[in-house]
């Protein structure tokens, strides 16, 4: 049963890491606008070189 303690703590730590990543991404505005980047990537950028 001791193995459970290790497993649970490992899973919690992993989950905490994901939570941290989520909060960080949210703060950076990753989920604020989910539409524009999908359009932006399709624009040709060769016009910038001209």
């Amino acid at each position: 049963m001791e193995i459970m303690i290790i497993l649970i703590s490992a899973s919690l730590l992993l989950a905490l890491f994901f939570l941290y990543m989520f909060i960080k991404a949210s703060r950076k505005g990753q989920f604020k606008d989910t539409y524009t980047p999908s359009v932006r990537i399709l624009f040709e950028d060769n016009d910038i070189k001209n």
């Binding site: 049963m1 459970m4 303690i5 649970i8 989920f31 604020k32 524009t36 359009v39």
Partner: protein
Amino acid sequence: MEIPALKSPELKRNSEVLCLHCGLPCDSHKITENGNNFCCSGCAAVYQLLNENNMCDYYNEGKGLTPEPTDKGEFDYINEAGTVDKFVVFSQGDAVQFKFIIPGMHCNSCIFLLERLERFNSGILSSRVDFFNKELLVTVKKQAVKLSEIIALLYHLGYKPDLTLSNDAGVKKNKISSRAIKIGIAGFCFGNIMMLSFPEYLGLSLDAGSLVLKRWFDFISLGLSLPVLFYCGSEFFESSYKAIRQRTLNIDLPIALAVVATFVRSLYELFINHQSGYFDSMTGIVFLLLTGRYFQDLTYHSLTFDRDYKSYFPLSARQILDGVLKVVNIRQLRAHDVIELRNGELLPADSLLISDYATVDYSFITGESKPVALKRGEKIYAGAKISGNAVRMELIASTDNSRLVKLWAVEKDKEEIDNSLTEKINYYFTLGLLLVGAFAFVYQYNVGGLTEAFKSLTSVLIVACPCILLLATTFANGHLLRTLKSRGMFVKNKNTLSTLATCNTIVFDKTGTLTDNKNFEIENLSNLNSEELSSIGLLCHQSVHPYSAAISKLFYHLSDKQLSAYTDVVGKGLQGRIGGKTFKVGSAAFLNVEQPDTLKHGVLHVEVEGEYRGYFVLIHKIRPETNAITKALQHDGYDLYLSSGDNELNKEINAAPFTSTLIHQTPENKVALVKRLKSEGKIVCMTGDGLNDAPALKEADVAISVADNENAFFPACDVLVTAPALSGFPQLLKFIKASRWVIIISFAFSLVYNIIGLYYAITAQLSPLTAAILMPSSSFTMLILTWVLTAVIARRQLGALKA
């Protein structure tokens, strides 16, 4: 270096040539530039601007917006320090970032163009679009570029930023994103606590070693529940604290109580009884409620109904001060100030005319584009649009006191009543719930003692926690609103939905609702030959008057004819020499002829070389779908009324199945009609546009506006239907009626759930374990139920309508 011009394949629809820039059909005004066709000089100008900056890729993306010509210096007032601050997001070293809200942003081309602002002005470092929030962030070099220049550029490109000065860009907090974090944390804690509670859920009999492990799990659960209690749930506590301070009750109070009660009871179980607590229930409540509110926010976010006429009001005016023209913010204008207005500008406040003559139309207020001629000293009301020459006026009131502002202020009351109604329901629901909780507590105290009493109180608060009841209607309504929105019908709130479903009488206004304001039907009652008609077209082409525009649209062709000796007698008519003949077009008074009594408005008389040649009758064109709509509505059992301020009706209207058609109606008549119908016990829905319908719209149970353009002005209304969606109006009404069942079924479901739950809770039979599983599962069932029901009804009723 000469930049090679882009030549796009000619755009065509039904053999009509379409404008390359805006995609609208080019009529006789077609302008050809580098082999591309444009409908107006504005579009051609933007094309040139784009072409010069080598940005014609724009045209590969689709269609843009029609630009508005602007004056340099019009936005100078914005450069005042206090005003600039409202747009600044941050200012660091050499760079400043401004935030604009651009309501007109609507497609991928907009993103393309708006993200390349740096090409137009070297002072702009970068621009970034947030399409979802309709925001534009522009970073500029300090000193190199003024705020007014950016705004003028945006105007020039056809993207009017929202300048109402109420959007404090820097201060505005992004509520939705901070809530997303709260939901993330709550969901994380909820999920992990559930996982740790599994031995409990399964009711495993545990040996001594496992019991120690389970004890550990319980303490980890406690730790996980703390951030949920103190961070994620904080808004419930804040809101209920505020409510208590205002000596009222709100829906957040029982939630806060339930959360606290569950937490305290869990602590008691954990430390005194050495049992697992109910941390899963507590975090679950918070998580689900936050999720529900997030969706609610999303729904309301996408339906911005706060656009009032002020957004369309002029922001600056040219004031004449000691003989010098100065651009000032209209808020600085006071009575007796003298201002100058040019063609197409709106009058910001009631004024007296100082110039000799002026022609104005009240299309902004009434939707009627019929111009009115005024002489010196006459009063002009705020909202009048100037056509023709520039005129000077003296204000007789400050902008805040004018009629328009007052009208709007009255409109606002209706909304507040709606709000207070919801507050009342919340109040009684909360009160009822607290009473039931108190009853359960007292009952169980007498029957089973303090422990049982405590248990049943918390169970009542958890189980009857209003979330499911609220979630049911919130989710169902939110989903309905979204479905309607995708079909071009914007409904203000759920109260409107339920009124609309019971409505049985529809009153139509003609102008702008059933008719298309920009299109006239022209009856030619003159004996002009085609050569002369084309000359009339050329003459009318010179004027911006709506009648002239309509005539020129019909008869004007590009030709080598020359116009000379052109005069425009404001408010009366036009005169000019073409091909050696003198042409005169205008009102009866202008030509000194008798007008037949049967004709009152919309008549243009023609004279060639001093000889009277007849007249044109102009009537607003009926929207093509009018007949089908009215027939379908009548078939569905609606009583249809028509109330029009016009003097004549088109023959199509007379053919439509109206119970009664009324003409010569003043705004007061319209109000009286609505009142009368209401007193007969009918639920009245009024459709109209313009502020002359505003009083009647306010009186009606549901106010519907038809908008040709989503960005156009519309008076405060409950429902907005876009012109293209109008043809599906009967189906949309049917859908709304049918969808009441979704609300009823989901409400019944949650009620049954609540009653059963409450029964077990009051009798202290409900184990918190069951509640913990029931709570989320019932909410999810509810979600799926409403979603499936709405989709089924939508497919049935709206199948043919394009989403």
